[in-house]
Amino acid sequence: MSDALDDRIRDARGELAPLLEEARLARLARSEAPGADSVCAWNHFENIW
């Protein structure tokens, strides 16, 4: 049932790749910041694993 969604995501692999790489690098940069805790909760209480 999620086949169609997954197919659309896979079809966008080429366009997604640079965005996912930017996210990886941003994560790395944040983890190396002074005092950083080298992730936000998801599907949890959203007003604040």
Binding site: M1, S2, D3, A4, L5, D6, R8, I9, R10, A12, R13, E15, L16, L19, L20, E22, A23, A26, A29, R30, A33, G35, V39, C40, A41, W42, N43, H44, F45, E46, N47, I48, W49
Partner: protein
């Protein structure tokens, strides 16, 4: 198709507990869901001690947090909040979600001394912050800004929580620019929800919502300093689909997310249910820490009348929704306050904050 393995049943051990030191809030935000925010019903130290007995044990085994939530936690005062925090050992991480209006040098020193992580509620620049008002209906923005300035003066890192009432193109870029200037290191964006005593409609044009999220991606890519919760998880999910690991992205069980109210009553899974009453489910509580240890309350979640109905709803989401692997199922409070029951499936909240979020990110990458 990827089989989603996670979110089956409720874990007996939480990753955090939400604590309500007082029901009182000094603000009267238009969209607030809390029913008792004009009253000052305070948690006793006895309640905090009862929770700490289990929290300290959990923290010895794994990372564990206590979140002081509202009402406005700072409205309890430093002396009382300090007494409530005292039973929790140093291994327990402490977090506070505050409207920032009471933050000053003394509060910053209080948090620094205890290693408390602070998150502030602010909806963006003054012109987008008009729903956050005092009890007299006056804009709270200047006081919020003063409180955040105190955090910055003390060199305290902080997170921000932003409620968006009208998600549309033009808003996201302005918001991200604002939060970059504000200096928060983490940002959560909630599209306003219809829950609790907030009955304002939350249905939006899906194209506008998708465009809002797509615009946020553009703004974030230009300067990705902020950990934006919604984008982080969208990108994690999209990457997992490409890697063939999307079925394992969600945790094996739902976190019980126990909320301990001012009186010691425990509400599971959705803190927004605390303080409400239903003809069938009563006050939604699963017990009280003043007569039952929290770990015992969490041992049998299905004994709480509404939890089996909610878990049926989670399985209905798994069976019927293409986005389940990303979302993990609609939240209990959103189901209840939108559908009047816990086993319904797609909510406006799902559409605004999960489905059109993921589609907005995809729109961004597919843009010619």
């Amino acid at each position: 198709m990827a089989t989603v393995n996670g979110m089956r049943g409720v874990s007996r051990v939480p990753a955090y507990v939400v604590m309500q030191p007082t029901t009182l809030c000094n603000l009267d935000c238009v969209y607030c869901y809390l029913p008792l925010r004009a009253q000052d019903r305070r948690m006793t130290v006895e309640v905090a001690r009862a929770v700490a007995a289990d929290a300290n044990a959990w923290a010895a085994l794994d990372r564990f947090s206590v979140v002081w939530h509202g009402g406005e936690p700072l409205a309890a005062g430093r002396e009382h909040l300090g007494a409530l925090m005292a039973p929790f050992g140093p291994a327990v991480e402490q977090h506070v979600q505050t409207n920032a209006t009471l933050l000053d040098d003394a509060w910053c020193e209080f948090f620094a001394a205890r290693g408390v992580r602070v998150s502030v509620s602010v909806d963006g620049p003054e012109e987008l912050n008009t729903s956050r008002v005092s009890r007299a209906g006056r804009p709270a923005y200047d006081r919020i800004a003063q409180g955040i300035a105190a955090l910055r003066r003390h060199g305290r890192s902080f997170a921000a929580l932003c409620v968006v009432g009208d998600p549309r193109p033009g808003v996201a870029a302005r918001l991200y620019e604002y939060f970059l200037e504000l200096g928060c290191d983490t940002l959560g964006i909630n599209i306003e929800e219809r829950e609790g005593v907030n009955e304002r409609p939350n249905s939006h044009d899906p194209e506008s919502v998708r465009a809002f999220w797509a615009e946020l991606v553009v703004a974030w890519r230009a300067d990705p300093r902020i950990h934006v919760r919604e984008l982080e998880w969208s990108l994690r999910y999209l990457g997992a689909v490409l890697d063939g690991t999307s079925g394992d992205l969600l945790p094996g069980e739902l976190d019980p997310i126990p909320t301990v109210g001012h009186d010691g009553a425990v509400v599971l899974l959705s803190p927004e249910l605390a303080g409400f009453h239903d003809p069938v489910h009563g006050d939604f509580s699963s017990g009280n820490v003043l007569d039952t240890p929290l770990s015992s309350v969490l041992a049998e979640p299905r004994r709480t009348s509404w939890v089996p109905e909610f878990l049926t709803g989670v399985e209905a989401c798994r069976d019927t929704c293409a986005y389940f692997g990303f979302c993990g199922g609609g939240h209990a409070a959103n189901r209840y306050f939108e559908h009047g029951r816990f086993d319904g499936t797609q909510t406006e909240h799902c559409r605004n904050s999960k489905i059109n979020l993921l589609e907005g990110v995809l729109d961004h990458v597919r843009r010619p």
